[in-house]
């Protein structure tokens, strides 16, 4: 009679439960019965009960009450009970449970048991869940088994030793001599179970034997003699040769032999070849061998099996930097894989293709990449767009090509590009001054075709606002000009303004562009005036504010309008890690003209910056709180906590110096005394703190404290201002302290 009948009966009952609730009911009953059985004396059914519990555990139900039963069963003299007990230990106990310590003694006893199958149970369990303590305790036993026992036990002891060494590395030395002697034995099983202290020539011998001479049928897999063993040996060779020139030399021939002789028609052979390639790439191999390895990967790319194609790509990706030329030779195949039906392969192909782009192949590669972009799966679009932009920026053969490429991406995947694309493209356009006419024509055409891609629409609006006069002139060198009337252009912008598809930021661009045209067109200025006044009552606060300001520009400041709206100078690309953190901040900086003369009427400058700010601000991205007072020289709130508010106002004094005023206020209900501010600056900057106005900060904001700080950067190094401020004060009898870092200063006057 099969011993598992009772277990199988329970499984059948559980499986016949029709609902989750019913199943839970059955299991609760069964667990109660099992618990009761555990408490009873030995009745011959203990192993079955534990097995039932293990099944229930696998379904996801709690089974911790079985832990002690495992300990008991392991100590039983009956093999069937030991077997299930050890299985339970491996499933229910881990090194964190106290119960696991209790089985150490049983394991120790079983390691010396007369039956090798009992020894094997103990070894297996120790290798599975042995804690560091258990390993230390039992290591000498394992060492003994490594030396003195039969091959069956030796191989298990060796693997157990591997686990021990991983857990407690110092014990590795204990096992080294035994490991050495294991190698000289011919048994396949033991060869597989090596640890890292090995002896190379023997390995090479064994490997040679496997590859060249006959094979034993029991180890054969599809014509490859023991691929598991071959891979193991290759793995070891890899470890040995890693930083070792001599070892790498010695295994050169062997690796070449394996690479050429292994039949790759079945997966087993490919597995061995793959491991060979990994080994060659990891050790100090000679270039001929590396080329051989890359060629194997290239062959894999053409394999019908998509798994092989996939791992070939992942491997190529790892070596594309170090062995760039070798991988370039397979560029054609890699690019073809962009069309592979498998999504993972496509992704790898994309990454690899981007890595292979160079100045030489940029035009042909970009064709392929743009083609890919138009039909690629949506989850890859953002990555592809980003990669294309980077490649275009690095290798663009001409500015026109660059602009065209970016426009192409915006047309096909405008929704997937990052926010910086818009200011980056605008900056690029301004620098390509001889292409302004071409660019604005191209963008106008794109705009009247489709206004759904926000990034494209924003750039188009900006361009039309800026270069609208070139558009209206109707002549262009590089492109067939369009006959456009002023009304046509204003129609286009108004469509954007009114469309449901336009985001608030886009509408801002359109409104500003419309305003700018007021100085570039001649006949329709009134139309612009009326558009602007309509939006003065727009619900969107941002648009309303702009419209009101533009209205003011028409009415009160009309004499300045031409100067304010004139053509912008070429924008300098700001340093990429200006630590504003948000792209919005970076964009703001890009728009500012690099040099501001202090002599010019400050009033004229401020509105100008407000107008242009709007073009590139990323609404909602800027985390710094902005408040404008005194005609727009901005104050920044740098700290707001526990009722203390610290505001920073900066004004530039000279080319290298900066004056900052800190204003503190207290909105809590308790006065603050001994209020002090300390400041620190980077090494390149000199600091001078003037005396504060006081050190008493009354409650409820009735008075403020100010302190002026002078910063000087005589070397003009980087001109990056950064300030650390430590604040300390006493409130309600307790001392408070806080620090903050300010690394971006508000307002154009500060840069």
């Amino acid at each position: 009679m099969s011993p598992s009948v009772r277990l199988q009966e329970m499984i059948r009952v559980i499986r016949s439960a029709r609902t989750q609730g019913e199943e839970r009911g059955v299991i609760q009953r069964e667990c109660a019965a099992i618990r009761a059985q555990f408490r009873q004396a030995d009745n011959g059914g203990r192993s079955h009960n534990l097995a039932k519990l293990l099944y229930v555990h696998m379904l996801g139900y709690p089974a911790h009450f079985g832990q002690m039963e495992c300990v008991r069963l392991i100590a039983s003299p009956r093999y069937s009970e030991k077997r299930v007990g050890y299985l339970g230990a491996m499933m229910l106990l881990d090194e964190k449970q106290d119960a696991s310590l209790l089985i150490t003694n049983s394991i120790k006893n079983d390691l010396s048991h007369s039956s090798q199958y009992v020894q094997s149970l103990a070894l297996c369990t120790l290798a599975c869940m042995g804690s560091a303590e258990m390993c230390r305790d039992l290591a000498p036993e394992i060492d003994r088994l490594l030396r003195a026992s039969n091959s069956y036990i030796k191989k298990k002891a060796a693997l157990c030793a591997v686990h021990i060494v991983r857990k407690v590395p110092e014990l590795g030395e204990l096992f080294t001599p035994a490991a050495r002697s294991l190698l000289s034995e011919k048994n396949h099983g033991q060869c597989v179970t090596r640890d890292t202290h090995t002896y190379m020539p023997d390995l090479v011998q064994i490997m040679k034997g496997l590859v060249t001479t006959g094979y034993s049928p029991e180890h054969n897999v599809a014509g490859i003699s023991d691929p598991f063993l071959q891979v193991r040996i290759l793995r070891l060779l890899r470890i040995l040769g890693r930083n070792n020139d001599a070892a790498s030399d010695a295994m050169n021939d062997l690796l070449a032999q394996v690479a050429t002789n292994t039949d790759s028609s079945k997966t087993a052979g490919s597995a061995v070849l793959y491991e060979t390639v990994l080994t060659v790439m990891d050790i100090k191999s000679e270039s001929g061998l590396r080329v051989l390895a890359v060629n194997i990967l290239g062959r894999f790319l053409l394999n019908n099996d998509r798994n092989i194609r996939y791992i070939s790509m992942t491997s190529l990706q790892k070596i594309v930097v170090t062995d760039h030329n070798a991988v370039q030779r397979h560029r054609g195949t890699i690019v073809d894989c962009l069309k592979d039906p498998d999504a993972s392969v496509k992704r790898r192909a994309l990454e690899l293709s981007l890595a292979l782009v160079s100045a030489v192949n940029i035009r042909s590669m970009m064709k392929e990449l743009l083609l890919f972009l138009s039909s690629c799966p949506p989850e890859l679009k953002a990555q592809a767009a980003c990669g294309i932009f980077n490649a275009a920026e690095r290798y663009a053969p001409s500015q026109r090509w660059h602009i065209d490429t970016i426009l192409h991406v915006l047309t096909t995947a405008g929704g997937d590009v990052r926010d910086e694309t818009v200011p980056n493209l605008i900056q690029l356009i301004t620098t390509a001054s001889d292409l302004h006419c071409y660019t604005v024509h191209k963008l106008y055409r794109a705009l009247i075709t489709d206004i759904s891609q926000q990034s494209l629409v924003q750039v188009a609006c900006w361009c039309i606002g800026e270069y609208g006069d070139l558009l209206l002139r109707g002549e262009c060198d590089e492109i067939e000009p369009v006959q456009v009337s002023e009304d046509d252009v204003l129609d286009a912008l108004e469509t954007v303004l009114q469309s449901h598809m336009s985001s608030p930021a886009t509408r801002g661009f359109a409104l500003t562009a419309t305003m700018k045209l007021s100085t570039r067109i001649t006949d329709n200025v009134d139309r612009i005036r009326s558009i602007v006044s309509i939006y003065g009552s727009c619900i969107d606060v941002e648009l309303q504010q702009r419209a009101v300001e533009y209205n003011a520009l028409f009415k009160k400041y009309d004499h300045m309008r031409a100067a304010v709206l004139e053509r912008m100078p070429v924008i300098d690309k700001s340093s990429p890690d200006h630590s504003n953190g948000e792209s919005g901040g970076g964009a703001l900086k890009e728009v500012e003209p690099p040099k501001l003369k202090q002599g010019e009427a400050v009033t004229a400058q401020e509105p100008a910056n407000q107008v242009h700010d709007g073009d590139n601000s990323q609404d909602g991205h800027n985390t710094l709180m902005y408040s404008c007072d005194n005609l727009g020289s901005p104050t920044l709130t740098v700290y707001e906590k526990n009722g203390v508010t610290l505001k920073l106002h900066c004004h530039k004094q000279s080319e290298t110096g900066l004056t900052v005023t800190l204003t503190a206020s207290n909105s809590s209900d308790w006065d603050m005394s001994s209020f002090t501010l300390q400041a620190a600056v980077p090494k390149s900057v000199q600091l001078h703190m003037k005396a504060p106005s006081g050190d008493f900060l009354p409650a409820r904001g009735t008075a403020t404290l100010t302190q002026t700080v002078l910063l000087n950067n005589p070397n003009k190094v980087g001109l990056q201002w950064a300030l650390w401020i430590r604040m300390s004060y006493t409130s309600q009898g307790s001392a408070f302290q806080d620090t903050m870092q300010i690394d971006s200063f508000p307002g154009p006057a500060c840069h």
């Binding site: 297996c124 591997v162 597995a271 798994n307």
Partner: protein, 154 residues
Amino acid sequence: GMRFLLLFSRQGRLRLQKWFTPTPEREKKKIIRDMTTMVLARKPRSCNFLHWRDLKIVYKRYASLYFCLALEDQDNELLALEILHRYVELLDKYFGNVCELDIIFNFEKAYFILDEFLMGGEIQETSKQIVNRSIEASDMLQETMEEYMSKPAF
């Protein structure tokens, strides 16, 4: 080395779990949830390799069971497919035309076979014959012992 091996049905029911490194219970449950969700979501003709955290996941479907093996970065994925296949062969030899029901109703046997083939996250024995012989001998030992213990002691 291998980190874990999971067998689960097409409905996501776990049939076997082998953990080659100590893992807390809560973490095991999370991993099982993640694996079943990820693997079951794969389209029919995708490749058999996935990336998850810092591990490579190799999975293969045999009839109604998914075999899922987690590897470390240095391990050979193609070989992992061979490992899974070898395990299926061993099960097939033992049960004769093995199907999911065999593994459900005799799950302890599936573990015993696995423990003769893999140990400590590495391959233990590459010979099919030796593994089969060991299992047969252990099974016989089980029955022999049971007969012995059930004999009345006079």
